[in-house]
Symmetry: C2
Subunit: 140 residues, 2 copies
DNA sequence: GATATATGCTTGCGTAATCAAGCATTATGC
DNA sequence: GCATAATGCTTGATTACGCAAGCATATATC
């Protein structure tokens, strides 16, 4: 039994860690009635310069399939935190935008989210967190 | 719109990254007929000193529920890569052990897994990988 | 312009996980 | 030593995804 490479241990630990993180963050967000994935959508949309984006781009960002995005967005539309924007140039596309209510919900949820995140990675110093983020950028 | 804290960006990037990692690793492992989660089970069992463990401990390691482990292990038992070991001290428990065939399968799958992992994190230097692993240990 | 192909999205179905409830078995309090 | 509680696991129902196929629209070829 030879021993594992560093890289494989990283991937394994990353998987286990991310599962714990997601569970804790999702738990906290459920108080606002949203899932972690839904939060990620709002986070992405909020930060867009043009504020609307196609489902395909969203899927790419989330690392999900197009069908996954369809089923993810549908209930968000129903409760009006997301709006459909038709693209006049291309009737196939229906873009997606955060509504006013969505922005409000996001800014509320963000407080909880920030809080749980600082708990989760709080054992790292500021400079360690910066370094970690650099590493993430490099492997992306 | 104030800006996000470092810690929340880390948690978000970690979620997105891990989703990509898991997909790529799972893809590669599917050539061996196993999922990433199944690989994690084998990885964990292989490295145990006593070589068998209760389902509860396994669930804890994986960050899964007990019922999740039940349904995860069942097919692995059926194809005989995992063996059930009854605990004479406690009839409620049924421990889990890697069979000979399981060990063989793991050592084959490991080659693929190591390969894809070194692709995934290969853009980090050795010392960066070590640092990353330290960070993971700290936040765990 | 008509046909073929590509693109954006949705739908049907399968899989992997969760939670809540339940069943055995073991441990505890009196 | 009997009732109650706790523990280990399984089962039923639900949820969140993926893949394959399909539909509508857009683009390319001729």
């Amino acid at each position: 039994m030879t021993h594992e490479s560093l890289s494989s241990i990283i991937v394994i630990q990353n998987a286990l860690l991310s599962s714990r993180f997601s569970k804790r963050a999702g738990n906290r967000l459920s108080a606002h009635g949203i899932s972690l994935t839904e939060y990620l959508v709002m986070h992405y949309l909020e930060r867009l310069p043009q504020n609307s984006v196609s489902r395909i781009e969203l899927a790419e960002y989330l690392g999900m399939s197009a069908s996954g995005v369809t089923r993810l967005i549908a209930p968000m539309e129903k409760i009006k935190i997301i709006e459909k924007v038709t693209n006049p140039r291309d009737a196939r596309q229906s873009q997606v935008r955060l509504s006013k209510a969505g922005q409000r919900l996001y800014s509320e949820a963000r407080i909880s989210f920030e809080h749980i995140c600082s708990e989760l990675v709080g054992s790292l110093s500021q400079s360690q967190q910066e370094k970690l983020l650099e590493f993430y950028a490099k492997v992306t």
